[in-house]
Symmetry: C2
Subunit: 435 residues, 2 copies
């Protein structure tokens, strides 16, 4: 595998994870004399900020994903492998792969991201799917669309309402997006399409344990968020931790809220790969890294993206957002480049916070740009422009824009297609109407 | 459910299947005083002629499907149900549904289409998936893309070549489309993207039992088809029935061809619903209908589309193609309308054959318009124009066109995204390269 010139072996970098951190690191090393192997369990890089649009039928999966192989086809020093790491031997400098075989490395970047966590209640997972991958998004899409079908076929009022009641657990950006968009679908997109139910009777609850939605935003924008959600028809319940979830609904404050569709946007945990590194993890399973993103005992092993736990100068942790992951990826590349070239190491990693955006729903968003606060339609246009701009690298920007323009003017969503089998088929509640 | 005026009950029509036949029948009855229930196992109508494009990563699933509910939202006399018929009682005039409950009918149209058949070798299904639904298409897409990934990770030449060898069984339109497009992907789309394999080394075999591909076309166009396929790099094997299929390949003429990816485009059987009707079936399981598409003993029960077996005046059967299904749907609507209005029944159903098109691959197609024969680039443009035109009812035409234009100029295919788990993960053959 050594593409060495004149017999001098080139150093090998293994990158685990083709998300924003891993991909940005790989691309920044395009001109270096290093052999890179990028492994990922998926064949694609995913533009995660728009994943909720796939879950809510606004975009199709290929609109927000591109094959890693294709993105990197012209970068000769990288090989992409569809593979999963199962063990990491830091002393032997080897990564073990799921189907057997190992990869040796001189440098390692672990950037396998985050997954959803159920706070020790893994049994909730079956009833309250989370949103991290395209598979998750398509499963949620099918669940949302089928809920209205089940409601149409229901034979009792209680059953019908249970299918028309939706709970989104967690008031972070994903929960807010899902709740706002779901309310829009019920009120606008599905209008006229059913004969026995009125989709606008759907009740969307956003359940947040903390005092307000969007904890990372300043209080005035939290208040705007709540107002905009309520205007879209979402019932915002704050200060209410979820105590139980099952097939029939959620329990909050000791009170059962019957509903058949619960989405999980509350807990994020670092990828389990962090546990393979034998170093201290924080409460969310993230790996405590040194200021240059390396492991304490292993200067050639880097951890970045959502998997890394690092404090900023102000004491707050670097947030698990796409811009931070990209910056970490670029930084790791910079450190490796300086070592390859025998140059002095760069300063410690510093997260540059350019601001915080969150979309809420149709013409509703909040923007916090270093004290400059926007909400409503203007914030929404800002959010849209920023996201289309950052969808760079995907040639799909044009069709994404067309799909959005169409959705905006018609309230329609083009990807309302159910794929796969129905995990709730045995829920027993859905009976066709008597005729 | 009777939306009767002044207490007069309106007749009820149940339509099973929202394909071309069922949907065209429902739409043609929009102005009649009849209560229609359309049931389908999927929530969408599928533009089946472009399904191979989803299987080969050219289009995404929502590009060629639209929710039945959305298509019919403004037709007040129809209710759409996501449901599956499990039994039909022709005397009691009831359809039994999978989740319990029944639908009573005065008129019934069974148009549940066709599925793939393995000529009594159902054990081949796991190794040679067929292409009828969106789920099928996404499974085939994942299998094709993963084959190249497995080849890249293979450790022996034999293993590598087994993943680079593809067999398409059946030389009808679907088999020809799949083989031609697959060759194009290997030769052009994936170029430059792999480091250890050359995708152009992939071998695509089209295996047909009969003497030529595209049996429904005249001999000169069959010859053109063979030439165009070979120019695209497909090895066309005719007169060679498949004798066996397993995880390691196919057996033809007593000879084993090792390959890990086999696609099935050979056998079509009518939907098993035909067996519920208690009337004679033909060899492919299609229901023998009377000239007005009704059942012999039941003048109010119609069978249409791919499920119906009917001879044309020239003795040939009405083909199982989209135009025939649409014509049958419209005809059934016409018969029902005449009965509702007390008008004389229309003449027997006559299939109007406007010609036959088949696409082969990039700039390659054949067209037979009543003796007017085209092949090559011109035929391909004709095919493209016809299919974009008939994609009517889908608002996606614009994005489909953009995707095609992009694919045409760049050889790229925008939907190269693997979704779901790998059924071949235990094939054991794929090991990562030693490093």
């Amino acid at each position: 595998m050594d593409k060495s010139d004149h017999g001098v072996p080139r150093p090998r970098l293994v990158v685990i994870g083709g998300g924003f951190c891993g991909l940005w690191a790989v691309r920044a090393l395009a001109r270096e004399a290093i052999d890179i192997t990028l492994i990922d369990r998926a064949n694609h890089h995913l533009f995660q900020p728009l994943l909720y649009q796939v879950a809510t039928s606004g975009l199709s999966a290929p609109d927000i994903a591109a094959p890693l192989r294709h993105i990197l086809r012209q970068q000769a020093n990288v090989q992409v492998l569809l593979a999963e790491a199962t063990a990491i031997d830091l002393n032997a400098r080897q990564v073990q792969l799921a189907r057997g075989g190992t990869l040796s490395f001189d440098y390692l970047l672990v950037a396998s991201g985050a997954t959803h966590a159920y706070f020790g209640h893994d049994e909730w997972a079956a009833h309250a799917p989370g949103l991290k991958t395209l598979d998750d998004a398509l499963a949620i899409r099918a669940r949302l669309l089928r809920a209205f079908e089940h409601a149409e076929a229901a034979t009792t009022d209680a059953e019908r309402q249970a299918w028309l009641d939706f709970a989104v657990v967690g008031g972070g950006p994903t929960g807010v997006e899902l709740a706002g968009t779901l309310a829009e679908i019920a009120r606008h997109t599905l209008r006229q399409e059913f004969r026995r139910i009125d989709p606008a009777q759907a009740r969307v609850r956003l359940i947040e344990a903390g005092p307000a939605p969007l904890a990372a935003f300043p209080p005035d924008l939290q208040q705007r968020t709540r107002e905009q959600l309520e205007r879209l028809g979402v019932q915002v319940m704050t200060g209410q931790p979820v105590q139980h979830i099952d097939a029939d609904g959620v329990v909050v404050n000791g009170q059962r809220l019957p509903c058949r569709t619960v989405l999980w946007a509350a807990g994020v945990a670092a990828s389990p790969l962090g546990q393979l590194l034998g170093t201290p993890l924080d409460r969310a399973g993230r790996v405590q890294v040194r200021p240059d993103l390396t492991l304490p005992q292993h200067a050639d092993v880097f951890v970045g993206g959502d998997l890394a736990a690092l404090a900023q100068a102000n004491g707050k942790p670097v947030p698990g957002v796409a811009p931070a992951a990209k910056q970490m990826g670029s930084y790791v590349a910079q450190v490796i480049r300086s070592r390859l070239r025998g140059q002095p190491a760069p300063h410690a990693f510093v997260y540059r916070d350019y601001g915080n955006l969150a979309t809420i729903g149709r013409m509703a968003a909040v923007v916090d740009l270093r004290g400059w606060h926007l909400s409503g339609l203007l914030a929404w246009w800002f959010w849209l422009a920023a996201h289309v701009f950052f969808l760079i690298g995907f040639r799909n920007r044009l069709t994404v824009l067309i799909n959005w323009a169409w959705a905006y003017w018609t309230y329609q969503r083009h990807a309302r297609i159910v794929i796969g089998t129905d995990p709730q088929a045995s829920a027993g509640a859905a009976k066709p109407p008597p005729s």
